[in-house]
């Protein structure tokens, strides 16, 4: 164990963990974050705070993570390579750690043209694997340039993996690269295609990667068949099984069906060897999280160390 992250402690203890995710507000609204914290406190073990997700401007993930701490929720600060160069990324890590943030999720970031400033310049100074390596180096007391620092952070380092995108063999190879660079936990894209996920997790187990990093499988409650169709058509690298489309289409109450599918998925993932937890991504539907965790039989959550 390297950090004071509660998430890490639970994973080390062998608990099946539950993460949530919230989008910071598109405005200077701290109260919005505190309100969303009410849906997550004592319901999940840690919550992702996204970093300008889908390249749409929102409150910074650093400050949102700090507000989440105030709201009694352990944050997982997302940090992308799209908007900041290696200097800014390292200074954000230092600041966030000093403020009490203990988990960081390193991502490349969605391309600018998907968001609301398609005319922006993308930075992409580092890629996500290099960013993971950078944070791992900082944990050991070194900046990326090799210079040493007096008071290093001790972050629990995460990254992403997409089991559903092509080419399959590179997905496994890149996961290994990230682990070698210092990644300790992985969050995946939402699972809507079990045959593909099972194939991926088997390959992960065969390589032994599930013992080197904790695999947290993504799940997403959806409100309508439209949301699934949108993901299938417009989110590259996503795979949706026809079964779910049919179920959502023929459901009398699509919202209820969405919850049912999500709960079923979590229960199945819990039984899947190699999976150490789930990451619930209720996009714009954070309020449903407590119900999903409860119906999945994952409440109460193990008592954690209080977020500092």
């Amino acid at each position: 164990m390297v950090s004071e992250s509660n998430l890490e402690r639970l994973l080390t203890d062998g608990q099946f963990v539950v993460c949530g995710e919230m989008s910071p507000p598109q405005g200077a609204d701290k109260a919005a974050i505190l309100k969303k914290c009410d849906y997550f406190r004592n319901v999940v073990d840690a919550v992702n705070l996204t970093d300008n997700q889908t390249a749409i401007v929102r409150m910074s993930s650093v400050m949102s993570s700090v507000f989440a701490l105030e709201g009694g929720v352990e944050p997982i600060m997302q940090i992308t390579c799209r908007d900041r160069n290696r200097l800014a990324q390292q200074s954000d890590i230092l600041g966030a750690y000093a403020a009490g943030v203990r988990n960081v999720l390193c991502l490349t970031g969605d391309y600018m043209t998907f968001g609301n400033h398609p005319d922006a310049k993308g930075v992409f100074d580092l890629d996500s694997v290099q960013l993971i390596h950078t944070v791992a180096d900082m944990n050991e007391g070194r900046f990326l340039c090799g210079e040493e620092m007096k008071t290093p952070p001790r972050m629990f380092i995460g990254g992403a993996a997409n089991p559903f995108a092509e080419p399959f063999d590179l997905r496994i190879m890149r996961l290994g690269k990230k682990i070698h660079a210092g990644m300790r936990f992985v969050q995946t894209q939402p699972v809507f295609d079990f045959p593909r996920f099972d194939r991926w997790i088997k390959a992960v187990r065969d390589e032994g990667y599930d013992r080197e990093a904790y695999i947290l499988a993504g799940v997403m409650p959806v409100k309508s068949v439209k949301a699934l169709d949108y993901m299938r058509e417009s989110v590259p690298g996503m795979s949706i099984d026809d079964e779910y489309i049919d179920r959502m289409k023929s459901a009398d109450d699509p919202k209820e069906e969405g919850v049912r599918i999500c709960v079923e998925t979590i229960k199945r993932l819990k039984e899947t060897p190699g999976v150490s937890g789930v990451h619930i991504m209720p996009v714009m539907w954070e309020s449903i999280t407590p119900r999903i965790v409860e119906e999945s039989g994952l409440l109460p959550r193990p008592a954690g160390g209080q977020p500092e």
Binding site: Y111, F124, D127, D169
Partner: protein
């Protein structure tokens, strides 16, 4: 690399006219054949002779999570994902093992300079993780 080639390459890099000639010679091949993006620190030989800097996100440790089911790029749906191409060509050339290699961040000072001269002048760092480097190599890294 011998002291002589190192000195020669260093000399070329210091003199704009010579450097221009070296760049021209390099680009005549690399631009049309590999669509070289001029990063000045070539990794073609690791990646099935396909340049990862052509990726819109310039990911040297790719691919990103957005490769489409048909192997196309998430940003430019009409193009193939560079990493999809890298994988295909590496397989054909029997070089897939090289894809496991970790690539250090790009040295932005070397952009638009001759990668060949940079290699001869010893300006390219070993491609590995800091913690895998020896103390001496780390020191050299700091100096550069």
């Amino acid at each position: 690399m011998s002291k002589l080639t190192e000195g020669l390459a260093g000399f070329v890099l210091k003199h704009p006219a010579l450097h221009k000639c070296a760049l021209l010679a390099e680009n005549i091949i690399k631009k049309p054949v590999f669509r070289c993006q001029d990063c000045g620190q070539c990794v073609l030989s690791y990646n099935g002779y396909t340049c990862p800097m052509r990726c819109p996100k310039q990911i040297r440790n790719g691919p990103c999570g957005g490769t489409r089911a048909n192997g196309h790029c998430e940003v430019y749906p009409e193009r193939k994902c560079i990493w999809w191409l890298i994988n295909e060509r590496s397989k054909k050339l029997g070089m897939q093992g090289k894809l496991r290699k970790y690539h250090i961040p790009v040295d932005r000072r070397l952009e638009h300079t001759s990668a060949w001269m940079n290699v001869f002048a010893g300006k390219i760092l070993p491609i590995s993780l800091h913690r895998d480097l020896t103390k001496k190599e780390l020191g050299e890294l700091k100096e550069k």
